[in-house]
């Protein structure tokens, strides 16, 4: 369960502070599929980084599964990321010149899982997201955008996290591939009961979710944003 209370984030650039998040409060229950929508620059990625324990809020509290994680150290946050969170990035972020399998198994390296088990779990996850077996050993730079994003989703699943955070996962994909990716998330939510948070600025993508949180200028707004 995710609960944020009055989260603020201020970046200081060249001595000039700019408040990107101006006090966000919301709650996402276990097993929910939530979309966070908002225009570009509204602070969506920033809140996702905080939810994913990649960053800490300047002010406010963040409770993950009931524990306050707002003030943890780098390494403590790394531990939480490893155990509870799977990330999917807009730009895939796969290791270059490494096979699909190796990419998927990468998070397990840090939980000291032995190699055979790593490979078995990685294969399982790749099959789960509909990645064809014959491409398992293809290097990441030999894959299409859709294939890369599936590898990235499989990677986000491999440590069996309860929460999957995806930052504009369809942003670099054509609409047909985007649909496949969103359907995969949909299925992971309904069949595997994982909490899924997808960030997007496309209403088309947000439709796959159960609920949408709208952000504008670092604040939650009630009404859906028009246009685009």
């Amino acid at each position: 369960m995710i609960e944020v209370k009055n989260i603020k984030k201020t970046y200081t650039n060249g001595g000039i502070p700019s408040e990107v998040l101006k006090g966000l409060s919301f709650r996402i229950d276990d097993g929910e599929f939530v979309a966070i929508m908002g225009p570009s620059g509204s602070g969506k990625s920033t809140i996702m980084h905080i939810l994913g324990c990649l960053d800490s809020p300047t002010e406010g509290r963040y409770f993950l599964d009931g524990n306050d994680v707002s003030d943890l150290s780098d390494d403590e946050l790394a531990e939480i990321r490893r155990k509870k969170i799977g990330f999917v990035f807009q730009s895939f972020n796969l290791l270059p010149r490494c096979s699909a399998l190796r990419n998927v198994s990468l998070p397990l390296v840090y939980s000291e899982t032995n190699k055979e088990e790593r490979m078995a779990q990685a294969e399982q996850c790749l099959e789960d997201v509909g990645f064809l077996k014959e491409h398992f050993h293809n290097l990441s730079n030999q894959l299409s955008g859709g294939q890369m994003q599936r590898v990235a989703i499989a990677r986000s699943l491999v440590n069996n996290p309860s929460i999957i955070l995806a930052d504009e996962p369809t942003g670099n994909l054509d609409s047909a591939t985007g649909k496949i990716v969103m359907n995969t998330f949909r299925r992971l939510n309904t069949e595997e009961k994982r909490t899924i948070v997808v960030i997007t600025h496309e209403a088309e993508v947000a439709k796959y979710s159960d609920r949408t949180i709208y952000i504008k200028d670092g604040l939650i707004t009630e009404e859906p944003i028009k246009g685009k």
């Binding site: 390494d75 990035f89 972020n93 290791l95 390296v109 840090y110 190699k115």
Partner: protein
Amino acid sequence: MKLTDIFEETYTALSANKSRSGLTILGIVIGISSVIVMVAIGQGSQASITSQIESMGSNLIAVTPGVAMSSNSRVSSGWGSAQSLDNDDLERLKAELVGVKGVAGELSGRYQVIANGNNTNTSVVGTEPAYAIVKNLGLASGDFISEQNLRNASRVAVLGPTVVEDLFGEGADPVGETVKINGLKFKIIGVSESKGGLMNQDDAIFIPLTTIQRSLVGRNRLSTIDIAAESTAVMSSVEEQTKAILLDEHDIANPDEADFQVMNQAEIVEAVSNITATLTLLLAAIAGISLVVGGIGIMNMMLTTVTERTREIGLRKALGAKRIDINRQFLFEAIVLTLLGGIIGITLGSLISFTISYFDLIQTKISVLSVVLAFGISAAIGIVFGYYPARRASALNPIEALRYE
């Protein structure tokens, strides 16, 4: 992160950029191998010089004429200027010294030598039969100077192998032939065994002491008195006796004013060892500079790698890598680079040292210590020069690292 995984990551990373890894390793290889070669040369010369000195005879004491200067600095002046040793000194030492294996007087000079139509300038050593015992000089053929030769001041000569080569050609046996020294005819009665190298015993002609004193120099002076003690244990006693006898013979009361000097072989070996040890250190230091340059190469490569792989580091962190995981991964890369360089460098250095010895250019000696040291140094270089880049990598903020273009 498991050790095997760190290895795998390191292997992947290093093989992804083989030429760069190779060049970086080359820097370490050059550094380590030059250290090995330089130290081998230094220690090799030390060993060969020491063994040459020791081959001249064991437990040797040499008395040379000298001029007393002050209490602790004496200047030795060679034959010709200082002439403080003579046959009387020699006779007294022979008569009175206890615990000696042999005492041999020596008077030497350089003369023009002609034989077999060839002509050379070499050292002519006038000495006694005991010289062969004292200086551990063996004969390749013929005989050494006899007591009878000495009594009769015979014109006989024992040639060193280098002289034989110069005058008669390699492998010739000139025993029975004659040689002209400073215009006087000498009969060749023997050829001494080769002792090798430095001390020039091979490039000398030995004639009776009486002959050189009467026929060539014309004075009863000595350039050296060589004394061989019976054992190492009595060395200092023999040295003390020698000084006392000679001071008495020369009527000198204050030992600081002695007009001769007594040196034992251990002192000579030590003095030479000190020089060669300094030389070794100097050579190693010069080679060490190239090792430092190699280390900087490692650091340079690692910093480049960290910058290039910023996104990857961000990703690894996002996926749950802790600081220590990242730190270890990069430190490991640096250490593997230097250790590879170290191993290749040690092999190459040993090979070069061996080749140098094999072709008789310089004596080399590879000590286990220098190999262990080189290995340790290369690992240390990996740690020292890899530390900063690895720390920089591990301290990267994952969000900023992921954004890095």
